[in-house]
């Protein structure tokens, strides 16, 4: 909370979070598959980066690897996650725990299961202060009540003693946000923070996230499959497909002139762009199984531009305009389309 007075100047080249070449392998019943393959992105303080993709594309896995909460079946096999100058993937568990909370923090999708059902919410929100600042139970409680006030819980002093099941879905999401921002993290990762909520509440929660981000100058990584949320809220977007990044760049540019057929397909499927009387265009087919990503381009089976080179050669991310990259051999054709 002390940091709000002196926001770090936005525009410095020092990213708050820098992910480079992240690879995650996943053990499945019959063999290991690569769930995240060479994902790189970075985000500065005060900026919002969206990770966009269909479910199963590896965006949640990426988020969990960044905060070090991967499950045992999954394992980071390469890359770096840099915050405050150190690579968290190479830290000991104890050193990593020191970063969890004050530097990196995460908000989950389902707030009911993300809150401990048998602890009063006040204790859960205050826990971070007890772990990292060594505050007493009472002091932590006061901090928790402050935070609950900030995220808009009515009668926070009384409600601090209540249990999660006594709150509504929206209120629970607010509690979760309070918990995540308790120690003013440099980077806040929000994994589909509004998916489980109804539309009006979604808007409130997104507004709350934005306000808190602005007042604390956090870097926000927003994981979502919702194009509208990305368009309204993010500065930059990383589009993922089958574990890889297919396109990356400032949201405005990417959405106005996509440089990857997958992005193009996603944008075409938004109802606003639809023509009355015609079926809503959708990307045909479904993503490949991670165990059976074809050699060459992962998107080849669904791509309207596919040709022989796509089957043979996997496209790598390459620059495609100012601050943008794409992983398509024929991105230029889209530009002129």
């Amino acid at each position: 909370m002390t940091r709000t007075a002196a926001p770090a100047p936005t525009g410095t080249d020092d990213p708050a979070l820098d992910v480079e070449g992240l690879c995650v392998d996943l053990s499945t019943p019959l063999g290991t598959v690569r769930a995240v393959d060479g994902v790189s992105f970075s985000v500065r303080r005060g900026r919002t980066l969206a990770l966009l993709g269909e479910s199963g594309c590896g965006k949640s896995m990426t988020a969990l690897s960044v905060v070090g909460l991967l499950d045992p079946a999954a394992r980071v096999t390469g890359g770096a996650v840099r915050v405050r100058g150190s690579d968290t993937l190479r830290l000991s568990p104890a050193e990593r725990r020191k970063l969890a909370g004050p530097v990196l923090s995460i908000v989950f999708q389902d707030a009911l299961t993300a809150l401990n059902p048998v602890q009063p919410v006040g204790r859960q929100i205050g826990e971070a202060f007890r772990i990292h600042r060594g505050l007493s139970r009472r002091e932590a409680r006061e901090k928790a009540i402050e935070l609950m006030t900030r995220v808009g819980i009515p009668e926070p002093r009384e409600r601090a003693r209540s249990y999660p099941h006594q709150f509504s879905g929206g209120m629970r999401q607010r509690l979760l946000i309070a918990m995540a921002v308790a120690l003013d993290p440099d980077v806040l990762i929000a994994d589909e923070p509004t998916t489980a909520l109804d539309v009006t509440v979604q808007a409130q929660i997104m507004r709350l996230l934005r306000d808190i981000q602005n007042e604390r100058d956090m870097a926000l990584v927003l994981i979502t499959h919702d194009l509208a949320v990305v368009a309204q809220r993010a500065d930059d977007v990383v589009i993922m497909y089958a574990g890889t990044v297919v396109e990356k760049g400032p949201v405005r540019d990417v959405f106005s002139a996509p440089r990857h057929p997958y992005t193009q397909g996603l944008l075409d499927s938004v109802p606003e762009h639809a023509v009355r009387g015609r079926p809503l265009p959708a990307v045909p087919g479904s993503p490949p199984e991670l165990s059976a990503v074809p050699p060459g381009c992962a998107f080849q089976d669904r791509c309207p531009l596919v040709r022989e080179r796509c089957v043979r050669e996997r496209p790598v991310l390459r620059p495609a305009g100012e601050g943008r990259t794409t992983a398509c051999h024929f991105a230029e054709e889209l530009t002129h389309a």
């Binding site: 996943l26 053990s27 499945t28 019943p29 019959l30 063999g31 598959v33 769930a35 479910s55 199963g56 590896g58 949640s60 896995m61 969990l64 499950d71 045992p72 079946a73 999954a74 394992r75 087919g285 479904s286 490949p288 199984e289 165990s291 059976a292 074809p294 089976d301």
Partner: protein, 396 residues
């Protein structure tokens, strides 16, 4: 009927690829659908399971991964066979071989299965081989220790009446299993049927069934057996009945929970919409999904029943001489403990070997039939450490 019912489930599984094959595995459809030689039956129960989205995705992945395995293994890298098209030649073969392969990967479970198989074989055919050797007395050969020089029947020594311990072990295996297996099957059948019925219908029928289960369960099974066997005489049939009755609640509770959860699923609603009678819905749509769980419980319960029978026989109110069971053998050998340890130790070991095998196998089956946990069986041992939990990508 199945044509129409297939639809909702398949819609669910459309994005997952092979709904039918993967889900049929979850449902254990082969056991539940005796007449499923036709194509219609399999997709019907398959569609049912497909609606259990959380479990099916993992299963679907598993089966497709396997399809890929097969394709590449056969050297047929034909893109037409690539996942998504799913041209598995015979789903049932694939399913069976997958089970065997998963069993092979867990060494403890494989050993358990082999031991149980052996015990079953001995119990079935052993008595034919040994004839009356289990009862033949030879007072000259009383309390001979195990030795290699006394022929096959002297291998494990003799008891106080000079009877071959090996022969008695074989005969006791038959007795013990002929009590435990019928008891387990009875309680499995009755408990499951009542539980599915109660869970599917809910309401008063459900609470009545649960009350009955509570009453039986809230009393020590050995004590019920003891009292009943005091009043009636301890015969093998009475023991089977008593054991079956005391174990019914276990299946009743499990089956009820499964049915209660499944009754609100889309595919059940669909079947109801088409006017399928509830008995058929339970049989075709709910039983196949609940069956793997129930069979796992039965495997585990087999131990319990066996232990109870042994305890009763040991206490002198179970199997009565001249019949012989492993528990009874322990009791008979007890007074010669200091001079002839083998009479007591060996039948006890036989019990332990059988029950531990069943427990290990049940533990394996519990994981193997749960697609959300099946990945555990695939981790290479050296990496099995890490921390806790199930991968989020496997449980959407």
């Amino acid at each position: 009927m199945s044509e129409g019912i297939t639809m909702p489930g398949e819609e669910h599984s459309a994005g997952l690829g092979s709904g039918a094959e993967a889900a049929a595995t979850v449902a254990g459809a082969e056991a539940a659908a005796p007449g499923s030689g036709t194509e219609a039956a399999a997709p019907a129960s398959g569609a049912g399971a497909a609606a259990r989205a959380s479990e099916t995705e993992a299963a679907a992945r598993a089966s497709r991964t396997e399809a890929a395995d097969r394709a590449s293994g056969a050297g047929a890298a034909d893109p037409a066979l690539a996942p998504g098209t799913e041209a598995a030649p015979n789903p049932r073969d694939a399913r069976t071989s997958r089970w065997w392969r998963m069993l092979g990967r867990d060494r403890a479970a494989a050993v358990g299965a082999v031991i149980l198989g052996l015990v079953a074989l001995v119990a079935l055919f052993g008595p034919l081989v040994i004839g009356d050797r289990a009862q033949r007395q030879d007072l000259d050969a009383s309390l001979r220790p195990p030795s290699l020089s006394e022929g096959v029947y002297g291998l494990l020594g003799t008891d106080v009446l000079g009877r071959s311990v090996l022969a008695r072990l074989v005969e006791a295996a038959a007795t013990t299993l002929s009590v435990a297996v019928p008891a387990v099957l009875c309680s499995l059948a009755v408990g499951s049927a009542l539980g599915l019925w109660a869970g599917y219908h809910g309401g008063r029928r459900e609470s009545l069934a649960m009350r009955v289960a509570d009453v039986i369960l809230s009393f020590p099974s050995l004590l019920i057996a003891v009292v009943v066997l005091y009043v009636f005489s301890p015969s093998a049939l009475n023991i089977v009945l008593i054991l079956a009755v005391t174990r019914i609640p276990v299946y009743l509770r499990t089956a009820r929970a499964e049915a209660a959860e499944l009754r609100s699923r889309l595919f059940v609603d669909a079947a109801r919409t088409f006017g399928t009678p509830s008995r058929k819905i339970i049989y075709w749509h709910i039983l196949p999904i609940a069956l793997p769980t129930l069979l796992t419980v039965a495997t585990l319960d087999f131990c319990f029943v066996m232990l109870t029978e042994s305890s009763l026989s040991f206490l002198g109110i179970g199997i009565q001489p001249p019949e012989v069971s492993w528990g009874l053998m322990v009791a008979q050998g007890r007074q010669y403990l200091q001079t002839a340890w083998w009479i007591t130790v060996l039948p006890g070991l036989a019990i332990v070997l059988t029950t531990v095998s069943a427990t290990v196998l049940a533990a394996w089956a519990r994981i193997a039939t749960d697609p959300a946990q099946r990945w555990r069986l695939t981790l290479p041992t050296k990496r099995r450490g890490a921390s806790a939990a199930v991968p989020p990508e496997l449980i959407p």
